[in-house]
């Protein structure tokens, strides 16, 4: 199994560290050729406008759209914004995967960034430290979207088929449970495909 981490811009390094900790093979994805060798993709946080610009300028947007439509993909923060079908504040283009409306910078600026311990029912043991940095909010979810965790009453971790999205940054903690969840989705998908 090979996991790609989109490394055009943003918090890709910490995702790579987390995957190394789990003993998973990973590679950086900077060009469309890189998509050929991976089974699943992580789109990190960072600036969604910057990533979008780079994807489009280099003809990578359409290949990425095609890849992600049929492969497990996990987006954190800006990654989730890129995966959302609808984006607000301001509205912008996206890969159109997750049936949600994402509001950018919905909690405010950096001084409003925060962290909070939250119980995630599917893990049901230790609470998870959620780190929100200039985070987006999930404003609406379609009926095919499963909300895995809420914080302050808002959905913050969601799954739709083999797509996973978080408005916070699990890669900035030492807690690997959400990455493990994604790896299990990739494994499942591979066994279905095989």
């Amino acid at each position: 199994m090979m996991i790609g981490v989109m490394a055009l811009q943003g918090g890709f390094a910490k995702h790579c560290e987390t995957l190394s900790k789990l003993g998973t093979n990973w590679c950086e994805v900077r060009a469309k050729e890189d998509l050929k060798k991976i089974d699943g993709l992580i789109i990190p946080g960072g600036e969604s406008t910057t990533m979008l610009k780079l994807l489009k300028d280099e003809g990578m947007f359409e290949p990425l759209k095609e890849f992600t439509s049929s492969h497990p993909t996990f987006g954190t923060c800006a990654g989730l914004i890129l995966m959302a079908k609808r984006v607000e504040n301001p509205s912008q283009d996206s890969l159109g995967l997750l049936d949600i409306t994402a509001g950018r910078n919905a909690y405010g600026r950096q001084v409003d960034s925060f962290n909070q311990l939250v119980n995630i029912p599917i893990f049901n043991t230790e609470p998870f430290e959620l780190i929100f940095i200039r985070a987006p909010q999930i404003l609406e979810t379609g009926s095919n979207v499963t909300v895995l965790a809420r914080c302050q009453d808002k959905p913050v971790l969601i799954q739709q088929g083999f797509w996973l999205g978080a408005t916070f940054h699990p890669e900035l903690t030492n807690d690997t449970r959400i990455h493990q969840l994604f790896l299990s989705i990739v494994n499942q998908r591979r066994s279905v495909a095989a």
Partner: protein
């Protein structure tokens, strides 16, 4: 609590990795920078090249100007405070600026002390020329380090020197005996705990970016090769002939710094770069990098 606050601060720095942070002096420039793919903008009154030319005391930009820039873009906005001027920093934090640069480009307000950055919720970036300086700033609470280079010159030589120095200092720590680390802490004039951390991890405990003298896509890529995780571009963009094209090219160069083909493409038809100054032609008292201690 302090530890979780630091996580939020360095977390934003993590999100800026692999990106370009561009100096802008008004909303129009900010928009050009954002459209070109800047990961953040630095709001200031004058770019370093103009500060250098015009002289006088360089201070924090006017809040009105910063506000105008914050309203124009959705990416993070940074602003500079003078070294040691914690009140300027308080004002910037109150405004909701996303990152404060305690910068040698502005005229220092305190010739002995830097700001106690732990006291702020806003993250800080500080300049450094070597590992000792970087670790002193981190001990004071900086969430990001950038090399100082020599701002406003369009000359990359000082940034290269500082990147190489920091990288060499770090490598050296990783091969020393445990007994030697205290002496190294004394030599570098930085806290023993941080020295131990760097010796163990082989890197700074916070992200390390480059700044000072970046004028071309190749300059930016060179910084990335030398261990920078992102690049600040000051005068290099808006003092060039075609800022929008150059800004986009530098963004591309940072992402694809290991790909000479992409770098060649990024370096094509850029128009004239900023003029640039040789470091030997600058009087010692006009050097910006020697500010800060």
């Amino acid at each position: 609590m302090a530890e979780s606050l630091l996580k939020l601060k360095t977390g934003l720095a993590e999100m800026l990795k692999g990106g370009v942070i561009m100096d802008v002096t008004d909303a129009t420039q900010a928009k050009i920078a954002e459209d070109a793919g800047a990961a953040a903008v630095m709001a200031l009154e004058r770019v370093p090249a103009d500060i250098r030319r015009e002289g006088g005391v360089a201070r924090m930009a006017s809040p009105k100007k910063i506000r105008e820039i914050m309203d124009a873009v959705s990416i993070p906005v940074m602003a500079k405070a003078r070294i040691g001027h914690f009140v300027e920093a308080q004002i910037l934090e109150e405004m909701g600026v996303d990152f404060v640069d305690e910068s040698e480009v502005l005229t220092p307000a305190d010739e002995e002390h830097h700001i106690n950055k732990h006291a702020f919720k806003a993250p800080f970036v500080c300049g450094a020329r070597n590992l000792g300086e970087a670790l002193r700033r981190i001990a004071e609470g900086a969430a990001m380090i950038r090399t100082k280079g020599e701002a406003g010159t369009g000359n990359i030589v000082e940034a290269v020197r500082h990147l190489r120095t920091i990288r060499r200092d770090i490598r050296q720590l990783t091969v020393l005996d445990q007994e030697e680390l205290m002496a190294e802490s004394k030599r570098l004039q930085s806290p023993y705990e941080l020295i131990l951390m760097v010796a163990r991890d082989g890197k700074l405990p916070v992200p390390n970016f480059a700044a000072g003298g970046v004028a071309t896509p190749a300059d930016a890529a060179l910084c990335m090769y030398l261990g920078a995780e992102s690049v600040f571009v000051g005068s290099g963009i808006f003092k060039s002939e075609d800022p929008a094209v150059r800004a986009r090219a530098i963004v591309k160069a940072v992402t694809h710094y290991k790909d000479p083909k992409a770098l060649l493409e990024a370096s094509y038809e850029l128009g004239e770069p900023m003029r640039g100054i040789e470091i030997e032609k600058i009087a010692q008292e006009d050097m910006l990098q020697t500010r800060g201690w």
